[in-house]
């Protein structure tokens, strides 16, 4: 039954893609129907699961056995694992996914081919659901590649723009680096444990030597970095904003980019077994959350600024996931609240762009509240949630991560605290530039509120962004919910919780104040004389340079030297071999004379040889 959750959007995507233009009329509606159906089925499963006692909640469904060789102990199942962790994702993906489908109805209405867009969206939803429902790493990998493909197709959706095409390619290549890690991890698992299912790996890791958990941990971290745009593989995310804005909201904010966090939490047993791998995760998260925030603070492009913010927020989640059992639950909690508030902000940005002829430069916004009431309100709620103002969602999830980080080490705590301040600063800056300040519109721009199909999802999401925190943390309901799967240990910070909350809120307040103070007057053109930090941040903190030096140049060097080796040795032998084979081929071809007499001769000779050989074998 749970397979239907995946099957619905997958089928819809298949129909829309294979029947092409014939489905143009009802295509978007079919896609919305599929996504909604998926959500309802997920909800039904969730309600059933809630009704069961905690230990009976996880359920395994083997859809079919793909291939099994009993003699070799080799078996691959198409099996889905539905437990507290995966159902949380299913609900997030299908709920936010459905809302964004609806939003796209308005947003893509002027596009010449919305049907293709909706097909890709469905494809994405199906692949993402497969990713979170798989019961083994191999099937997860299928979903992992599936979302990568959907992301590639959607970033490059406007492929006539060279920038979009290049960005799509960049995202794909950067993801490849991470995928490489995942595939190596899967192969290692298969060699060491003889299986790739979660349960076998979890039980096998207990007695395994230390190098196994360390290797697996680092490889999985590499995979997570690729998919979740963490340092050092982050640079693709900023370029990915070339895609249509609903895509940025769904894939590059709420769901796909969080797959890395899911991977780490799902592999908790591996990370629990290796302290070095955990520390690597925490460091990666800390670097990413600061880098993302700094980049977000310097960008004038609203979507890129939000992308930096996404990277930063995922940094929080990754950091929390690296803390071990004190952090897993909060990583997922933040992931869910982030899914809501970041989606609403992206949709808000999309609404603003929609109103200003697709302008993304915040320096040409301003003065929007009077023309775009709902967009402003919902965006503002998202803003309050992300900077962590109580009682909005972000406050609860982020506060918990700060507590957990402080009980881990002082430097992790310092990083998340400083990050909270930076978040408050750049978000206030965005708020000021986009909405609060005076209008600096281009001449021919006449902003207007977006249609209902766009407003409605934003309102629903903003309600979530406002309330999700309280709902999920009251009576520790989310901790108890996930504890059977991820394990949970109460963090023990060195300071009383009230003190930590006070410090956090003060840091946030300082960030907000600086943000307001710096952005009272906004130039229409970005100032040139700026500090080196801003200069660096405008260039994505040299993420591309880093990639180029770390991956591209050595890669090119390797390619060059391999090329020489290839030309001389490999090609030499392959060409030699090729020449040899085709030489033989040509010669053997000549044996094909066309004369029936020579064929008959060959049969008779062959028979004689066969008889003689058989006699020899007998003797």
């Amino acid at each position: 039954m749970i397979a239907a959750v995946i099957a619905l959007p997958a089928l819809s995507a298949a129909v829309l893609l294979s029947f092409g233009n014939r489905t143009n009329k009802f295509g978007p509606w079919l896609a919305i129907f599929a996504s909604t159906g998926s959500f309802l089925i997920g909800l039904w499963h969730f309600l059933q699961m809630v009704a069961r006692p905690a230990e009976e909640r996880p359920a395994l469904t083997t859809v079919y056995e793909w291939l099994s060789v009993p003699a070799a102990g080799f078996k691959i199942n198409f099996a889905l694992q539905l437990d507290q962790l995966s159902i949380s994702f299913v609900l997030l993906i299908t709920f936010v996914g459905t809302l964004i489908h609806i939003y796209s109805l308005g947003y893509m209405s002027h596009d010449e081919n919305p049907r293709r867009f909706f097909a890709y969206l469905n494809l994405f939803v199906a692949a993402m659901l497969l990713l979170v429902l798989a019961d083994n790493y191999l099937l997860l990998y299928v979903g992992w590649e599936g979302v990568g493909l959907a992301s590639y197709l959607l970033i490059g959706f406007w492929q006539h723009k060279p920038t979009a095409a290049v960005a799509a390619k960049k995202a794909f290549v950067a993801n490849r680096v991470g995928d490489f890690g995942l595939s190596l991890a899967i192969m290692t698992m298969f060699i060491v444990f003889g299986s790739v299912s979660f349960s076998d790996v979890n039980s096998g890791i207990v007695g395994a030597p230390a190098w196994v958990s360390l290797t697996l941990g680092l490889l999985l971290l590499l995979a997570a970095c690729g998919k979740s745009a963490q340092f050092p593989l982050q640079s693709w995310l900023l370029d990915a904003m070339e895609g249509p804005t609903p895509v940025s909201a769904l894939i590059h904010a709420a769901t796909m980019v969080t797959a890395g966090v899911y991977l780490i939490v799902r592999s908790a047993s591996i990370f629990n077994a290796s302290e070095i791998a955990q520390t690597a995760v925490v460091i990666t998260g800390a670097i990413s959350l600061l880098m993302g925030a700094i980049i977000g603070a310097a960008k004038d492009d609203i979507k890129k600024s939000l992308a930096g913010s996404t990277m930063s927020q995922i940094g929080y989640m990754v950091l929390a996931a690296g803390l071990g059992p004190i952090g897993y639950v909060f990583a997922i909690l933040h992931l869910i609240t982030h899914g809501f508030f970041k989606a609403v902000m992206f949709l808000g940005a999309g609404s603003v762009m929609h109103a200003t002829n697709d302008n993304v430069d915040m320096r040409r916004y301003g003065g929007l509240p009077k023309v775009m009431f709902f967009t402003t309100i919902t965006f503002f709620i998202g803003y309050l949630a992300i900077i962590g103002v109580p009682p909005f969602a972000g406050f609860y999830s982020k506060d918990h991560i700060i507590e957990a980080a402080l009980s881990h080490s002082w430097w992790a705590g310092a990083a998340v605290l400083f990050g909270a301040g930076l978040t408050a600063f750049y978000m206030t800056r965005m708020m000021m530039m986009t909405f609060v300040s005076k209008s600096r519109w281009h001449e021919d721009v006449h902003p207007h509120e977006s249609p209902l199909s766009m407003i409605l999802p934003m309102i629903v999401l903003s309600v979530g962004a406002a309330t999700m925190g309280i709902l999920l943390t009251r009576n520790h309901v989310f901790e108890h919910w996930l504890e059977p799967i991820t394990g949970f240990v109460e963090p023990e910070p060195p300071l009383p919780i009230q003190t930590i909350t006070t410090i956090t809120l003060s840091v946030v307040a300082i960030g907000v104040l600086i943000g307001i103070w710096q952005n009272i007057k906004i130039a229409k053109v970005a100032p040139v004389k700026v500090s080196f930090v801003v200069k660096a941040a405008r260039k994505d903190l040299y993420g591309d340079v880093l990639n180029e030096t770390l991956l591209m140049r050595p890669g090119q060097g390797l390619t060059k030297s391999l090329n020489i080796f290839d030309n001389a040795v490999v090609d030499g032998s392959v060409n030699g071999l090729g020449l040899f084979v085709s030489g033989i081929s040509a010669r053997l071809r000549r044996s094909e004379t066309g004369y029936v007499r020579s064929y008959a001769m060959s049969i008779v000779l062959g028979t004689a040889l066969l008889v003689i050989a058989l006699l020899m074998v007998r003797i």
Partner: protein, 518 residues
Amino acid sequence: MIQTVLNTIPTPSFEYALLSPILVMFLAACLGVLVEAFLPNEKRRFAHLIIVFTAILFAFFAVVLQSGPNGRALVANGTVALDGPGWILQGTILLVAALSALLFAESKIDPLGDAFAARASTLPGGEEEKIATKLGWAQTEIWPLFSFAISGMLLFVTANDLLVLFVALEVMSLPLYLLAGLARRRRLLSQEAALKYFILGALASAILLFGSALTYAYTGSLEFGQISNGISSANNSPGLLTAAIALVAVGMLFKVGAVPFHQWVPDVYTGSPTPVTSFMAGAVKVAAFGGLLRVFYVAFGALVWDWRPLIWVVAGLTMVVGSVIALAQSDFKRMLAYSSVSNGGFILVGFSATSRPAIAAVLIYLIAYAFATVGAFALLTLIREQAGESSTLIRWKGLGKKSPVVAGLMSLFMLSFAGIPLTSGFTAKFGVFTAAISGGATALVLVGVIASAIAAVFYIRVIILMFFSEPIPEGPFVVVPSIFTTIAITASAVVTIILGLFPQVVIDLISSASVFLR
């Protein structure tokens, strides 16, 4: 005197129900002959179509309904063995034959009519030929010939007696020799192919018959079970038996097109009308391997240690030679002919393992290969030029732009031939290789993997030509076929995909039935 002799011959028992698939096809063939004799020209085609498709349908249901555990028996005095593999082979042959029949029946593709000569007796290129074509005559004798061939195949794969096997071989081969020579286009090539096929086939049949005689001389029996008993109990000179096995092997290996008995394959496949080629590469291949399996597993099973090394060598040669020569081919039909040879080698790899999984693996390979090859040939009939089918590969450049559906489906079959996962070809190759490894033939599997790497080159080359090259001016065009060919192609594609996506269902079904009766 005569009476005493007659008394020693037992009255044959004849299980009509169990033998009904064979009988029905035979009856259909005889009916077809009557149609030729008594119906007027213009009504024959329709009557034949009705008779043949009804017969195939009936035979197939007879197979499905009777193939359960209760339907497994030695019948007709032990000369026919209806066991798990026998039923599966019969079912497969009927399905594949049905697809070929659809291609036989197609008459919308070529503006001149179906794929067969208007009058086989007219001089190629002569005035009479033009008149016959203009009058729209058709050589409807193909239909009874076709039915005879199928009934021969159905008997061939269940024959449990060397003499019955021989008769079945002739019943299935003689119509094929004729069918091969009936092409509408390039008739000289077609007639040459028919003659070659006939001469070499006759030679191979003679060798098989000689081997059967020697077997009888050694064991005193022609029935497989008794041959097996005779081998274990006899203490004559083994030289006789060795020669017997070798000669029977040659007779059968000729039919499957194994190296060095393969040279007829490219000439005959290229020359024959494409529907007939699809029939030969699909159904005949299944039948030939079915017969080979039974003879060597049941009759000569006791001597497996003697003949297995030989099969290893033949399998290795067949895979390598088939794949290597295919590389140099510029004609698609010829390339597929060599591909058929090399696929025969892969099947022999599984065959050499002589275990229960090996039987299942061979059967699955046969199913996967037969459907993919029928699909590929069916697609070929759609790619045309003024003079007929366009089988020169280089002219297919950019076909993917002209007709993405045809090129896409062709790519599917090519990928399946190359053994890419999620297609039936992967399931098939995986099966035979695992069977061979557990049978101890690791070195042979290594050769097989290398051969399939070589083979992948020419399969993938087709895809590259179609999708990644600029179309040539005045290249071939793609014809929209009637419902017949459409069904054949769709069915082949569906089987190819299903066997790739859900192989376990089929594997379980076939594994549970892969035991020979003896």
